[in-house]
Subunit: 444 residues, 2 copies
Amino acid sequence: MKEKILSLIEQGKYVETRNEIINMNVVDTARLFEEIDQQKLLIVFRILPKDLSSDVFTHMTSELQKYVIDSITDEEAVGILDNLFMDDVIDFLEEMPSNVVKRILKNTSDKTRMVINQFLNYPVDSAGSLMTIEYVDLKKEMTVKQAIQFIKQIGIDKETIDTCYVVNSNRILEGVISLRRLILNDESTVVKDIMETDVVSINTHDDREDVAGLFKKYNYYVMPVVDNENRLVGIITVDDILDVIDQETTEDLHKMAAMQPSEKEYLKTNNWTLAKYRIPWLFILMISATFTGGIITRYENALQSVMILASFIPMLMNTGGNSGSQSSTLIIRGLALGEIKPKDILKVLRKELCISGIVGIILSVVNFLVIYYIGKNDVLVALTVSITLFFTVVLSKVVGGSLPIIAKKLKLDPAIMAGPLITTIVDAVALIIYFTTATRLLGI
Amino acid sequence: MKEKILSLIEQGKYVETRNEIINMNVVDTARLFEEIDQQKLLIVFRILPKDLSSDVFTHMTSELQKYVIDSITDEEAVGILDNLFMDDVIDFLEEMPSNVVKRILKNTSDKTRMVINQFLNYPVDSAGSLMTIEYVDLKKEMTVKQAIQFIKQIGIDKETIDTCYVVNSNRILEGVISLRRLILNDESTVVKDIMETDVVSINTHDDREDVAGLFKKYNYYVMPVVDNENRLVGIITVDDILDVIDQETTEDLHKMAAMQPSEKEYLKTNNWTLAKYRIPWLFILMISATFTGGIITRYENALQSVMILASFIPMLMNTGGNSGSQSSTLIIRGLALGEIKPKDILKVLRKELCISGIVGIILSVVNFLVIYYIGKNDVLVALTVSITLFFTVVLSKVVGGSLPIIAKKLKLDPAIMAGPLITTIVDAVALIIYFTTATRLLGI
């Protein structure tokens, strides 16, 4: 299919190309467009039916959207955007440089411009910026027959008609009813009698991460968005939530790996920007680790008299870092999914103490055997390393388990309390334990 | 609301409790049930209308489901399960111990038992285990009127009627049509003329991560599942995909933090199990780090003559580990989202080389200034540390960027090539660079 269309375009057979594309899935068409020579792409794009070209436009990458908008007339641009749902228009405008946004706004009607401006004012992370205004609103006095008639009249322009909302004359949200329920009921039934009144709704200012949580909890495909007076202002559909979940996870992962989070794809971000995102935390952690090094300097004499002690430093530091990362990762993820609440901090501490005890004892015993029997080291050296290892594991798990929760309590993002930071903290304490134990046990 | 119901139950007013619960959202009811004394819970559960009790049952935690099933008669149990959709029955049975599964299967009809057994045989990670069989299938010769009539007759038991599938007499999938399109078309139109024939479908054996990818790509709420002969066997709805995405991410995160992945909630997993998941990788990494320590032993004499070198080891190891984690995290996430493909390996290597050059130079220069001017160290020591730092950053980013892609090429999970493993690899090489540079520059 793809090869066929590409060769049709190559031969300049645009009408045949058009007929093939009409039968294709719009998402696939948008992907295909990325592979076409941009001059020819414009020709193909222009001869598509208007509805279809708008649909394909929504699914293009923002780079390609920008190219198309820059290359067509203002009139054509407004034509495309008129056919889009409001959430797609907003998604598009948020990605465009301000001169494009201005050009678009200049050419739209006053009413549309007002709505767009309002949407662009919602914080990027809020429910308001996710919602669309193309929903069906019914009145509770309507019969099923009237409701279906109403849907038939206006339904064609709505993003979803599978779920309809019931509002009163002040636009206050009163109920919800599915098209399914309408169809399955008798024509003379009144909407009021079959609608559900226990509607779970979202406020325009709710954080989009919380919105995603509501979708996961209630398994809805669409949810209504209301303002502070409980007036229906929009709907959010689950397909946008899939993107939100991915974006939030990516953000957390970036923070956990000590980077400034970025929504942009790796391969499409330039190297200077990527470097800029990585340097600050590396810098902070580098300086912190310099202080950790100072601990070694303090114990220089002890180290000089038993040089073998130096060779266990990498193992102690790494194991501490890794066991701390394990705990902090589990807790950060649990907090993100809402499975762990800040009030669970004592439960978590108890669990981590117990787990780290088990893990610490097993690793320490194995470690002792390896150092003493295989490494043929002094028994007191083996003991020093193993004791330090035990306390390092316990400490790192307790710190790794509690810092994310404390961050959450302080309204900070738990994701920054991950491996890199935990490692730096634990390293310093591990070295202090190490040298304190060594000076006592080895009498140096 | 919640407090009111809890106090009604406390007072033994079960009929009033029932009336309150009928008006509640089922998800909220299921959460509420977790807080009720289990004896009383059974009474409340039994007096709910049968449909409602099944609905609430689906949303209970598996612990509570098990308690309820263990406490009621076989007949009651089958009654509940009969009212569930097949995907919920399978979710439930997959969580139950085998004696409960046997008890249920013994009491269901032959036909249901066959279907359940077939579903339980699909691999846990396959599309088959996610799908449900409650879909609407139309014939292409039907008129819109006939189709809607048909939906009205059978629709009440279907998980979704918003999307209907068109099959031929051999059950081969021929098209898809939304209830919305049926409603918006004329009653005499034939389904064949308005259905979409370009149906994106899923095979029962597709991996559930790929299924999630399809939902993200095409923005559907429901997708059809076919067998190898393209016969329609089930549907997958987007609400189950939300769970899949979360589970897959959690799995990746656990692997990235060097743990055996677990789907079970942290607070509900016992400490021995959690310890068991954490020990293997810690153990492997501990043993590897022991070898890294061996490098220090090899250069013991060099270290003994310039002891200050020891104090920079934590900083070099940490910065190397952190900069490697940054790269590997970005690449692992990019691979998981499909933004980076294995064929991009050279592009990634080029990018990481360039970025690590920028990051390495900046960190090294700052580091030199700190060690020389603030730390008042020998200029050659400062130079040794800074040169090592530069090469460590470059090396760690190249290793961190390429290992996940190589893992993917080798059909391994890229997530294991994360911070902990990268750190261990980079540490050893960093120490070798360090001591080689030191012996040359400092003439030791």
